[in-house]
């Protein structure tokens, strides 16, 4: 019983992390159709954003304020990743719309460059980020079953990111323009929308959300130049399984992969569990090639 409770929670927790790393990609890849191999590096940028924020708090601010660094780090990570994403879109990505293979290779190259850049700036070894003390420990349900606060925090963070994205995409004017451009660029342009600006902004938002993911991941994982490579496969999996272009699909994809991964890993081992998950995904995509939630629109493709 205890095991089931903790495994269900673990499944949710893994899902929330998958969703967090896939949300940004759901925009840059899902909506904009850029096969963004540099997505993992935006996660890395966010992680280093958290590291830098922490160093600044350590060096310049009184110790009592240290625990406040984390919320600030989330904002700073978003801003840095947003800015770099914007720059990347303006200088490179905008020449690659509608050319998936080129965008794949170009963004991969960008990813490698960003990794090496991080190595030059921060050094090759991992850096340590101390998590704020208010996230230490966990909620004890009954003896032996602890729900770590960090995991709960990440679930809450994902929920708020999701909610904010929902408001932005489906309930704001900017979001309506974004959807219009993604669905029918020519028509949107005819109606007076600056598609260039919308593109750049959309890509930057996707990158910024990857930055938030990177910041949150410092709580539970390593922070080094190559961490992006650990997450990129999972991120693509989630978006593809859920159905490219649908936010709700991304949520469902993350839940499915997270829960099944945890279950399979429990029954077998980590390597085999991953293989089984991949097999299930392949089988599912045979049955539904467009993913769980296909976008039905005449303008696509």
């Amino acid at each position: 019983m205890e095991v089931w409770v903790s495994q269900v929670f673990n499944g949710l927790s893994v899902s929330s992390i998958l969703l967090l790393i896939a949300l940004g990609l759901a925009i840059t890849f899902g909506l904009m159709r850029v096969i963004n191999m540099a997505h993992g590096e935006f996660i890395m940028i966010g992680a280093y954003g958290a590291y830098m924020t922490q160093q600044i708090f350590k060096s310049y601010l009184p110790k009592s304020l240290f625990d406040a660094y984390f919320p600030v780090a989330i904002v700073i990570s978003f801003v840095i990743a947003f800015a770099i994403g914007y720059l990347l879109e303006v200088t490179l990505i905008r020449f690659l719309y509608g050319r998936p293979l080129d965008s794949l290779l170009a963004t991969w190259g960008v990813g490698l460059m960003l990794q090496q850049l991080a190595r030059s700036i921060f050094g090759a070894p991992n850096v340590a980020v101390a998590s704020p003390s208010w996230l230490d420990g966990g909620l004890t349900l009954f003896s032996g079953t602890v729900l770590p606060y960090k995991r709960l925090f990440i679930i809450a963070l994902v929920a708020s990111c999701l909610f904010a994205m929902y408001l932005y995409i489906y309930r704001s004017n900017a979001g309506r323009r974004m959807r219009a451009v993604m669905q029918n660029r020519d028509m949107a342009a005819c109606l007076g929308i600056s598609t260039r600006r919308v593109d750049a902004f959309t890509f930057a938002i996707g990158s910024g959300i990857a930055g938030i993911a990177g910041c949150a991941l410092t709580l539970i994982g390593p922070i080094g130049p190559s961490i992006g490579t650990y997450y990129i496969v999972d991120a693509f999996m989630v978006v593809v399984l859920g159905g490219v272009g649908k936010l709700v699909g991304t949520v469902a994809g993350a839940l499915g992969i997270g829960v099944f991964n945890t279950l399979f890993e429990w029954w077998t081992d980590a390597s085999l569990g991953k293989v089984l998950v991949f097999l299930c995904i392949v089988a599912f995509l045979q049955w539904k090639p467009m993913g769980m939630f296909a976008v039905r629109t005449r303008s696509l493709d």
Binding site: V14, A130, T229, F236, E265
Partner: protein, 431 residues
Amino acid sequence: MKKGNWLKGLVLAMTASLVLAGCGGKNNNEASSSASSSAPTSSEASSSAPASSAAAAGGDTVKVGILHSLSGTMSISEVTVKNSELMAIKEINAKGGVLGKQIEAVVEDGASDWPTFAEKARKLLTEDKVATVFGGWTSSSRKAMLPVFEELNGLLWYPVQYEGLESSPNIFYTGATTNQQIIPSVDFLLEKGKKKVFLLGSDYVFPRTANKIIKAQLAAKGGETVAEEYTPLGHTDYTTIIAKIKEAKPDVVYNTLNGDSNVAFFKQLKDAGITSADLMTISVSVAEEEVKGIGPEYLTGHLVAWDYYQTTDTPENKVFVENFKKEYGADSVTSDPMEAGYVAVYLWAAAAEKAGSFEVDKVKAAAKGIEFNAPEGKVTIDGDNQHIYKTVRIGEIKADGQIVELWNSGGPVKPDPYLKTYDWAKGLSDK
């Protein structure tokens, strides 16, 4: 039509990312994965390259190669080893060099890519005509270089602890083999009454080989393997593994995880409310440099097994640490593989002095029995297998990130890469 492209792109993307992820995992810190690197030396010694010796020894300098990954995922670990090797060369040069010649280091980047290691090894041997090469970290890099070194009769000094069961005539191993790290640490655990052992490792050759040895040892000595789990390289979510550990209720977790996975594992272990007081872990791939990257607060009280710590109390180590900090910054740390790289340079220099030559075959012959007062204490080259005698040390990680020795073997242990002296290990080495 667009759709077709799309799918193609996607497939490509996934493949590419898998490849990336695979490489990423390997990195890290641990050397263990395999330590086999073969070093090439170009020296002349080989019959196939007779002319090269003269070139290597010619002039007032002698060239040596340093071949580590300075970029890519392995650079995390290998850059520090390159630094300590360069420091050793600088020290030797300040004292007048070897055989009256200044050592000139030719530094090449293996780029965490195994074919690149082979290519650069060949370049060092044939173009630069170096007298010896110091380098490698993973087994994969060693295996890639090995044919090159054997073909050109080169000499490689491999500075990382590894899974044993190897002894190439062209390689000197200055890191620990299993009977200088893993086996004594298991004995230590059994002595402390930690009989139920949970084996956790990354899924590749080093942890699997190491665990095979540990299981045989536990079975022979009254211990018990309660579970054996492997995670893919670069795995970042350990909640399920931790749940399994809780279920199995072991006395100790024997950790052979590699690299970044260690960070995720220890952070999540602490989040699950498990400290070293509740559950002891012992790691063979976590040294001072990794402790810095994980954060000492997650590791306090956990055990590690190596042959050298920054805190090791010898006069040579005081000088070594002091010089290293002077050279590379006050917050830099020294670790076992770095020390092994440093020792390798000194051992090679001593062997060349004794041989009166830089020729590979002469240096190899002279190397037998050479002693050196290393930062870890006295080390001796074993003529039988080209490994070195080393003192084994079990340490505990402290809150300041330093490792304090709890136990040592009392003196250097004879290397036994094929575990011939252990009855229970029969059958492990013949594959």
